[in-house]
């Protein structure tokens, strides 16, 4: 079993705390939180987890990662 990345653990925990917020808005709130408080390299690592091990991420985190991607990449993905 692959080790849990710190970013994976933290992002899933943030999602758990936005569980009361409806889907789309939750993804936006999570993305906004991560954008506001996370160093860019942490965001990159989260996106890498989303690319390589999407099943390890809460679905709403996965949705949030789409919002965190650079515009061009997000459209492609």
């Amino acid at each position: 079993m692959a080790a849990v990345h710190p970013e994976q653990r933290m992002a899933n925990q943030i999602a758990a705390n936005f569980r009361h917020v409806p889907g789309d808005r939750a993804a936006e709130a999570i993305a906004a939180h991560i954008r506001k408080f996370w160093d860019p390299r942490m965001r990159r690592r989260l996106l890498e987890v989303a690319d390589s091990r999407a099943d390890d991420l809460d679905p709403v985190v996965l949705a949030a990662t789409q919002l965190l991607r650079p515009p061009q990449e997000a459209r492609g993905g």
Binding site: P6, Q13, N17, F37, R41
Partner: protein, 938 residues
């Protein structure tokens, strides 16, 4: 500067609008109704002789020295216990009262040693002074009669002596212990001639309940209770007013010196935070500043396995600069960073974050507040709009209901704890929310109406349940909410859900529903209800949620914006508030403004001449993760022992070992220094010039008592590193740094050293709208405009007990020690706490065959340690408790990587553990490892 002698008006102030006019010895004076004759006289400039009276204590009327004559009244009433009435005419110097006073003094002196010339209080003795004032010329009774001159001294306390032979039984010490400190450890034992001051039930001071706060010593008018340092060194001759460097109360002290030698620290009556009171740490535990363990020369080494090599400052600074630049050239600009300290001054913290942002060129700056109160910053900013507590400390004197959540003020913030206890003795009610039965739950003359002994990690469920009661029972302050808040309906709908009811949450929290309901009703219906909280709120995976939950409750009940209410964090270290204010978080510049705000960044860029990154940097736990993955390789640690204080120490050690450069600046070779390549010796608070900001946003001056023993100020060292890295930074004086802070920070706009020297202290915001500061925040509106209700869903922690780890460990601190103990372990305070112990319930002890005093192993899924067991019913079954003041114990070896979802503040308060009897040899092995480490320093 000479010795500061503060005026003593004899009896306390009686604030009030109604005044009365009296005449004292022909001098007219107008005073508030209820003022004593003694105080009125003092205000008129006339000192009435006194011994049992002092203005920090209620009048007692026992010494009979302060007698006066009052026109129209018979006899000679004691001026301390007689309130003035309108048109009263008082005569303080008449043949009758003068004779009476001489007679009284004769009696005192007939049973007092005649050793004034060799007495330690010579020159600072009220008995000696009063003998002179009353004109005592003879003692007709002789000295051969029965007396107390052979009474044996009690030298049991490490800091002060008790010489009962010199006692005049004025009861000032007894009253100070009760009225000021609230401990009631002292009493007058016996009657008549046999009356004597007694700690506890005839015990020594050390064996009694005395907490060594020094209030009795302060109150004693003779040398009966005297600081041992005064006995040994002599009476001080000059004072410097400064600020304590221990907890977040931020007490003001007079550092009293004899020449350049510090003799004693005396609490300053004009100190806004403490108003003349102190605790055992601030009052007495300053010996670490001159402890031989202090390192005074910079040291470097290539590898952490090499011995240290002492170098000159220039080499040390150049080494840091060169290696930082080399790392950045190899691994990128964001591969280095710094951790600033909540123990350092605002000015020092400011220059550290400036060095990171301007010289390092990134935002990898975080503060040790990350691991204590970062959820406070987040939660209060989200709801109220400002990352700070709402009140001043004085406010508690107006509270009718005090709710203490996850804090232990009598141990962690003792001077504020004494203020709180005073209000509780006056009749305010108390609700304690804590898994542990802290002293406030039941102590002399204090008893909590409710102790919500919740299971660790269930704070949010409790606060939601209280909110449920408020909303569903119609206890909401609708006018406050409608006028001043937003988001109420969604929040109210959420907390009203059946799953948030006290009955539903009881299974989660372990708190009986009836207790929650009763507590919520008390909070909502009290005229003024105040919340005080500590790390038992913040150091959880839902720390930020809980802070918002408390803010919600306060807004719903209208308990914001006036005296006696509020949401008040009790900050752990002396400058937690200040270090956060100063832009130490990786996402915020000074004054809590996000780095992505172009307008804010422009202010700094124009002043500093560098463009700044708009992206947040790494937080402390993220730095450790990034070190292990290889992207973060150089760290400057300023005054913080992360290898002892941070959680999951194996992870911390691995991160530090992985770095190419670790720079530690500290007083001592701490645990983190084991991993350092450069050690920069720091200055103690006695050598610092600057400011600290306490938990009530009070900016206090820290004044140097002596020059830095290292030869350099810390702000100077940081500036020189930045300069050596190619970013010129230079200040002549810390006052210049504060001026720069004021220039770039709207909430500090009016702050300057000159203003602080003039006013003593100010509470920010201090600007054009509030030129003398802001004691109470959010008075007419919230900083963010409308107060925002936040939905606070309860999300259980991931840390779960299992059959392998069936107990929950929670951590805290005790009165005599401070943080990782680096300072207090190097003082006489070890007399009270020589080691960390593990408190566990008798049931859990019995199930494991453990008896009080046994060595036990403590293991979690991440590590294990060994310490001594203390069987105690303070903890409920299933919960164990320890402190982290001693590196030998290594309590943080067992704490985990779990952290607050919003801020990464570690979840120190919840770790699943197992406890078992241990072989004592395990402990000895640990002790020898520290001895070896220290011996390895050359």
């Amino acid at each position: 500067m000479s010795l500061i002698k503060e005026p003593d008006f004899g009896t306390p102030e009686r604030p009030g609008e109604a005044t009365v006019s009296v005449e004292v010895d022909g001098m007219p004076v107008k005073v508030p109704e209820g003022t004593s004759v003694m105080r009125a006289a003092a205000l008129a400039g006339i000192d009435i002789p006194k011994l049992c009276a002092t203005d920090s204590l209620e009048p007692f009327g026992s010494c009979r020295l302060c007698v006066v004559e009052i026109d129209g009244r018979r006899g000679t009433p004691a001026s301390c216990t007689t309130p003035v009435t309108d048109s009263m005419v008082v005569r303080t110097q008449t043949p009758k009262v003068e004779k009476l006073r001489q007679n009284v003094m004769e009696l005192y002196i007939s049973d007092h040693p005649l050793d004034c010339l060799t007495c330690s209080a010579n020159g600072d003795c009220e008995l000696q002074d009063m003998a002179g004032v009353v004109g005592l010329r003879q003692v007709r009774y002789g000295y051969e009669g029965e007396n107390h001159l052979d009474a044996a001294p009690d030298l049991s306390n490490p800091y002060f002596d008790f010489e009962p032979a010199k006692c005049i039984s004025c009861s000032r010490c007894v009253r100070a212990c009760g009225e000021v400190q609230g401990t009631f450890a002292l009493t007058i034992e016996g009657r008549g001639f046999d009356s004597k001051v007694s700690p506890g039930a005839g015990e020594s001071f050390m064996d009694s309940e005395c907490v060594s706060c020094g209030a009795c010593v302060q109150a004693c008018p003779t040398a009966t209770l005297q600081e041992r340092s005064v006995v040994e060194l002599g009476m001080p001759s000059r004072s410097v007013v400064t600020t304590c460097a221990y907890c977040g109360v931020g007490c003001s002290f007079k550092a009293e010196l004899r020449g350049d030698e510090l003799v004693r620290m005396v609490p300053y009556k004009d100190g806004g935070a403490n108003e003349g009171h102190s605790c055992v740490k601030g009052r007495f535990a300053f010996g670490y500043a001159t402890h031989p363990d202090r390192v005074l020369k910079p040291m470097v080494r290539e590898r952490i396995t090499d011995p240290w090599r002492e170098v000159e400052w220039d080499e040390a600074i150049q080494t840091v600069a060169r290696k930082m630049r080399t790392i950045q050239e190899t691994y990128g600009p964001s591969s280095v960073g710094a951790i600033s300290s909540s123990r350092c001054t605002n000015e020092e913290v400011y220059v550290v974050q400036k060095m990171v942002r301007a010289a390092f060129g990134n935002n990898n700056i975080d503060t040790c507040a990350r691991v204590c109160h970062s959820p406070t910053g987040y939660g209060l900013k989200q709801t109220f709009g400002e990352s700070a507590g709402t009140q001043d400390f004085r406010s508690v004197s107006k509270a009718d209901l005090i709710m203490v959540i996850g804090a232990n003020p009598t141990d962690g913030h003792p001077v504020f704890g004494s203020r709180m206890k005073r209000r509780l003795r006056e009749g305010a009610q108390l609700v304690v929310v804590d898994p542990r039965r802290i002293d406030l739950v039941r102590s002399p003359h204090v008893e909590a109406a409710h102790h919500l002994q919740l299971k660790p990690s269930t704070n949010v469920a409790v606060i939601n349940a209280m909110a449920h009661v408020v909303v569903t029972e119609g206890l909401v302050d609708r006018s406050f909410v409608d006028e001043r808040c937003e988001g109420f309906d969604a929040w109210a709908e959420f907390v009203a859900l059946p799953e948030n009811s006290p009955e539903a949450t009881e299974a989660i929290t372990g708190v009986p529903a009836a207790e929650v309901r009763a507590s919520a009703r008390l909070y909502a219906t009290a005229p003024n209800a105040a919340i005080y909280y500590g790390l038992g709120v913040t150091e959880h995976s839902q720390g930020s949620t809980m802070v918002m939950g408390m803010a919600n409750l306060a807004m719903a009940c209208g308990n914001i914006g006036r005296d006696g209410v509020g949401v008040n964090p009790l900050r752990g270290q002396n400058n937690v508030q200040g270090s956060c204010d100063m832009g130490s978080f990786p996402h915020e510049l000074t004054g809590y403004r996000h780095v992505s705000d172009d307008a804010v960044r422009t202010v700094f860029e124009e002043l500093w001449g560098r463009s700044l990154l708009p992206e947040p940097g790494l937080r402390i736990p993220n730095m450790f993760d990034a070190a292990i993955d290889g992207s973060f390789r150089g760290l400057f640690v300023h005054g913080e022992d992360i290898a002892q204080s941070d959680p999951n120490l194996q992870h911390v050690s691995a991160a530090l070992e992985a770095m190419d450069l670790v720079v530690v600046q500290d007083l001592f070779l701490n645990e983190t220094a084991k991993f350092a390549h450069v050690f920069l010796p720091g200055a103690s608070f006695l050598e610092k010039d600057g400011t600290f900001t306490n938990a009530e946003r009070r900016i206090n001056r820290v004044r140097a008592v002596m020059k830095p023993k290292t030869g350099k100020h810390e702000w100077q060292i940081v500036s020189e590193i930045a300069t050596a890295m190619g970013y010129p930074m230079s200040y002549d004086h810390p006052g210049q740094i504060m001026s720069e802070i004021a220039q770039v920070t709207p909430t500090f706009k009016g702050v300057s050293f000159e203003l602080l020297d003039e006013l003593g202290s100010v509470q920010w915001p201090c600007n054009d709208e509030a030129p003398e500061g802001t004691p109470t925040m959010h008075v007419d509106g919230f900083v963010r405009g409308k107060g925002k209700f936040a939905v606070t869903a309860y999300v259980p922690t991931d840390e779960r007990t299992t059959s392998r780890f069936p107990l929950v460990l929670t951590t805290g601190r005790i009165l005599s020690q401070y943080n990782v103990g680096a300072q207090t372990r190097r003082t006489g305070n070890v007399a009270w706490h020589a080691e960390d112990v593990l408190e566990l319930h008798p049931l859990d002890a019995e199930n494991r065959g453990i008896t009080d005093g046994d060595m036990v192993s403590l293991a979690s899924r991440v590590g294990g340690t060994t310490l001594r067991a203390r069987v105690s019913d303070r903890m409920p079954p299933g919960v164990v408790y320890t402190t982290f003041h001693h590196p030998v114990t290594g309590a943080n070896v067992v704490t985990t990587e779990n952290s607050d979802w919003a801020t990464n503040c570690p979840e120190y308060k919840v770790t699943a553990v197992q406890v078992a009897l241990a072989h004592p040899l395990g402990r000895h092995a640990t002790e020898s490892s520290e001895t070896d480490r220290l011996a390895g320093v050359d």
